[in-house]
């Protein structure tokens, strides 16, 4: 796993806040119209699930990072 130099809070929160903004935009779009707005609403709300799934699957692959050592004994 890569380790970053210490980051500013806004840089850390950019991704969660960006996803949250997209979700809220999707909710508003769905509420204010139908057709493409409903499709955008569903797509925007699915983004959090896809983001989690992407990182979850990436973690599951052996080549994903040096810390993926499932057989290593857990530290106390």
């Amino acid at each position: 796993m890569s380790r970053l130099p210490a980051r500013r809070p806004m840089a850390i929160l950019a991704a969660p806040l960006g996803i949250a903004s997209l979700v809220v935009a999707g909710l508003i779009a769905g509420l204010t119209g139908s057709g493409w707005r409903d499709a955008f609403c569903t797509g925007a709300l699915a983004v959090p699930l896809f983001v989690f799934l992407f990182h979850f699957l990436r973690r599951s692959r052996p080549s994903a990072g040096s810390d993926c050592r499932p057989n290593q004994k857990a530290r106390p």
Binding site: A6, A15, A20, G33, D38, T42, L45, F56, D67
Partner: protein, 384 residues
């Protein structure tokens, strides 16, 4: 962020989460079948009749109400009074709610459904079916207003837990890239990563659900405030009149025609009868919904004099009531088809997982004194 500040936010996050966790498990689990209540109702054999929407046309309302009163008398064994008429915007179904008195409690109310095109009785909406019981558990824990208010406070605590979780996310992720999920080195660190990532990505949806759920939970006080404020002002502006007994009331169809003439083009959503929570003692309150996707969730009441059948007042709802009305679709997620419902259910399951991982992390802290406190976990997280 200073260690003392992290500790303070950790305390807020821990206790705001713990206090509401049990209630949130119940809400998330009972909410799952409620998301698909239309599909479940269809599976149980409840099919909508074909015809014009009951909000637009059909049999006279007076005839439907007379039939409903006869059905109430036959099934309840006593006379009842009409409380509400609910219209459908999609099919001919029309529901009439009756009770023993104008101010009957929700538990005393009975709902009869009719086909407005044919006038046929489609049956009584039972309040003791499995979906009705799940809904009551979800809404008020079978405890009426106190249960609703308790769940409202739990909703606000959930919002506080999300906000404090976001504040803590920054120091926890200071040295780690977004999306970090470590496995194998330490189960506790892996679970913390999962809790952080799943909580961070579902934060926007969870905040909306928590806030709108809390607003819905405070519906009764908000409606009471509207009745004592805006509605009382509308009634006062139209002049005070004594309550009119049922025998001397104007025709409901005449009242509806007058209200629709005043609100040209808009569609009625429901009628509140005199003396109920949604009307005055001297008016039929006809609630119209807007004709755009957004305003279809907002209501405008027209007060029709129950004696003369003439419109006395029309006034948009105040901001508090509009917030209540908009919070309903935002909480239910039923406004963009089945695909949105499926995503809604998956987000609900993700929230259950976040609650569970948070509970396991807290339990682990209790069993391992060395791991107690945010600072310890923060340090552990950075070391791992």
């Amino acid at each position: 962020m200073r260690t003392s500040t992290v500790r303070a936010w950790d305390w807020v996050h821990r206790w705001s989460s713990l206090v509401c966790t049990l209630f949130l498990f119940m809400l998330c689990i009972s909410g799952l079948p409620l998301i698909f209540h239309e599909e479940i109702d269809a599976l149980s054999g409840e099919h909508a009749p074909v015809g014009a929407a009951s909000a637009r046309s059909g049999q006279p309302l007076d005839r439907i109400v007379t039939a409903a009163m006869a059905d109430y008398r036959r099934t309840a064994g006593r006379f009842g009074v009409p409380l509400f008429i609910g219209f459908s915007q999609k099919d001919p179904r029309i529901t009439v709610t009756l009770g023993p008195r104008a101010d009957a409690s929700a538990a005393e109310m009975r709902l009869f459904t009719y086909d407005r095109t044919s006038g046929d009785h489609l049956g009584e909406q039972r309040q003791d079916g499995i979906m009705a019981l799940i809904l009551r558990l979800h809404v008020d824990l079978f405890a009426g207003l106190p249960g609703m208010l308790l769940l409202g406070v739990m909703g606000l605590l959930f919002v506080l837990a999300i906000v404090s979780g976001l504040v803590l996310y920054a120091p926890f992720m200071r040295l780690l890239p977004f999306g970090t999920l470590r496995r194998g080195r330490n189960r506790r660190v892996g679970l913390l990563d999962e809790h952080n990532l799943l909580g961070a990505v579902t934060m926007g949806w969870a905040l909306v659900i928590g806030l709108t759920g809390a607003i819905n939970a405070f519906a009764d006080p908000l409606i009471a405030m509207w009745r004592q404020g805006e509605l009382a002002a509308m009634v006062a502006a139209s002049g005070h009149a004594p309550a009119t007994d049922a025998a001397h009331r104007a025709s409901l169809d005449q009242a509806m025609a007058a209200a629709q003439a005043a609100q040209a083009g808009l569609s009625p959503q429901f009628i509140g009868f005199p003396g109920g929570a949604w009307s005055s003692n001297h008016h039929y309150a006809v609630f119209f919904q807007g004709d755009t996707p957004l305003t279809s969730h907002l209501l405008t009441p027209a007060l029709v004099d129950v004696a003369t059948g003439k419109v006395d007042a029309i006034r948009p709802m105040p901001v508090s009531m509009q917030a209540l009305m908009l919070s309903r679709p935002l909480h239910f997620g039923d406004y963009a088809g089945l695909s949105l419902k499926i995503v809604w259910a998956l987000l609900d399951l993700a929230t259950i997982r976040v609650l569970w991982s948070g509970l396991v992390l807290w339990w682990g802290k209790r069993r391992r004194p060395a791991a107690r406190g945010a600072a310890a976990l923060l340090s552990q997280s950075a070391r791992a």
